[in-house]
């Protein structure tokens, strides 16, 4: 079962955020908890850890601001 990655609502006030940079390559196998992308919201930058282990597929490019809930990628069991 794949896990969809969407722009998270990290804080009560979050409505959108910037996917600053993917920290792993498209198609890379990641471990749960491993930082996978850098995310800026509400003026603070945070590395987001992989929610599960598996192969990461990037679906949107870094450097853009997206609303909460936008699908940015997925992780499938490796």
């Amino acid at each position: 079962m794949s896990t969809t990655l969407t722009i998270p609502k990290l804080q009560m006030s979050t409505t959108e955020g910037t996917l600053i940079e993917w920290l792993v390559d498209d198609g890379a196998v990641v471990e749960e908890g491993q930082p996978i992308y850098s995310f800026e919201t509400d003026k603070s930058v945070q590395d987001i850890g992989a929610p599960v282990s598996g192969k990461l597929t990037q679906k949107l490019t870094a450097g853009e601001t997206y609303p909460v809930g936008t699908e940015i990628g997925e992780i499938v069991p490796a």
């Binding site: 969407t6 929610p51 699908e71």
Partner: protein
Amino acid sequence: MSHDLGIDNDTLCEIYTQVARIHQVDRAIQSGLSSGKFQFTYWPLTGQEGIPASIAPLVTSDDHMVTIYRGIHDQVAKGVPLKGLFAEALGRIDGVNKGKGGSPHISDPDSGSMLTTAIVGAGAPIANGIALASKMRGTDAVTIVNFGDGATSIGAVHEAMNLAGLWKLPVIFLCQNNQMGEYTRIPDYTASEDFASRAAGYGFRGVILDGNDVVAFHKGMKEAIADARSGNGPVFVEARTIRLGLHAGVGDTNHLSEEDLAAAKETWPVPRTRKLLLDNSICTEEELAAIDAAAETEVKEAIEWAMNCEPTGADEMLLDVYADPTVAPRRGQREQRAAEETHTGETRELPMFQAIQDAQETALELDPDVFFLGEDIGESGGVFRCFQGLQEKYGERIRPTPIAEQAIMGAATGAAIMGLRPVAEIMFCDFMGVAMDQIANHTAKQRYMSGGKTHVPLTVRTVAGAGIGGFGAQHSQSTEAWLLHTPGLKVVYPSTPSEAKGLLLSCIFDDDPCVQYESMMLTYSTQEEVPVGDYRVPIGVAKVKREGADISLITYGWQVMQCLSAAEELAKEGISAEVLDLRTLMPLDYDRIFASVEKTGRALVVHAATEFCGLGAEIACTLNDTLQGQLKTPASRFGAAYAPIAFAKPIETEQIPHAGTIAARVREMLK
């Protein structure tokens, strides 16, 4: 090497099992939020796992817990089923509270989790009521109320501590001192060196324990719980810990420097407890791994189950506001409710204050779950003389309190959640403001927030001083609109001694929280034959007090007599005014309101409360909408001018409607 930690191995394993379960829940929530799978507000508990985990082996589901929005760890360790917990946080119908409470308001009385508040410190007064119910029922159950260090600044906690000390309640004030009140660290919000020492000021014991050291904390809590259980009264426990996460959201706290965060993580109970069990040969690595795996599986299954539950639909909107869904007002409503039968039995001539005392005594005789609390209601017989001789006769069921309205309403709310029928006297309705958080955020909302799991069958009696003169702006208000704007409360406002008795008895035995307003203009001046015994006037039933044909004067409380005088005066001019006494303000008796206005074709709603945004505007608007085309003139309202009630009598007389000004408004409407 095995050391004697002073706690048996099974207990230590149980503590670690709870730590692991809490950690897996926290991890799954953070992961779900950061991947975008979940979208709900989360106040991370990371760092505080050891506290409820150490308590779990010391309590059963017969012991009670109150916690706050951050208390997911408390819920997990208390035994709230994880499936229902996750479904609740996700707003699903199969959540423990039907998805109506959500992540900040989980409760599950089956496991002893009684109420969760998102108002800082507000749980403490309610915990007193829960503990009081246990004490009054003669059980040895203990109530533990959890709150953060930030809550030690708020008045509710202080009022609660004072009352718990006075009444020697079996309650533990558990301050999880995570060193941050939301976004502000100690010492930026207090000059206190610690919080536990405050307990001494209220006459009971306070202890500081290391909440991140499960061995020390378990031992300390064992003593505290045993103390409270054996009737020695409350204990304040300051559990020192540190919050590793943000106030709300996902990620590490941004209130600690990198070095401080690293140091804090060294004391984190999750790896620390695991290592403790391993180092002391209490569990093998395999056994610990099995505990971790079991917790992970339990959480995974719970989430899968919860994600498959239906989101709670809008069809649930008006359910659980009251026991009876027809009570909640909605457009087009015209419920028909039967009036009381004409009383043919024995009566006694009584003024209103004695009729109220008679109702209170009747309730005490009818049901052992009824008890009273309020300021000065003991030996002195009550400020309004409604408790004369009652404490002597009923002992601890008449409970005089400190001057502390939050403590009073919290105790009543907690006891009512436990199934007792408390009646609280809030001396003047102006003091409602002091207790408004308890009344509006807790008493009124608990049935809804718990998805009907618990309800609050309490009654408040309160006096409105308006009209008497000389009380000034803070003892003369008519505050009923504050309460009418708060879904979940019923409000009655009698105008005669018999109705004061009959409505009060209906309120006391109603399963929703009820507030009875008593006007000082009527308490001592009106006297009539009052039915003896269990006499009830149904809630939600208005009564025509004078028949008329030209206009309906719709009113309540002491304005009924003003309207009757106005009608008398108008009759001399050939104007026939009907006076409809609402008697209950929530729920309104729209059936009898419409019936009267359909007959007369005109309506003026009259009340002593401020006209602007008052009940009169609401009723007049509903009449104009509903009876469009049938009215001879638009329905209108007449209330007090937009000013605080003045001390000077000439102002007070003119700022509130009276017979003369009411008659003048009627003449204008009939022009």
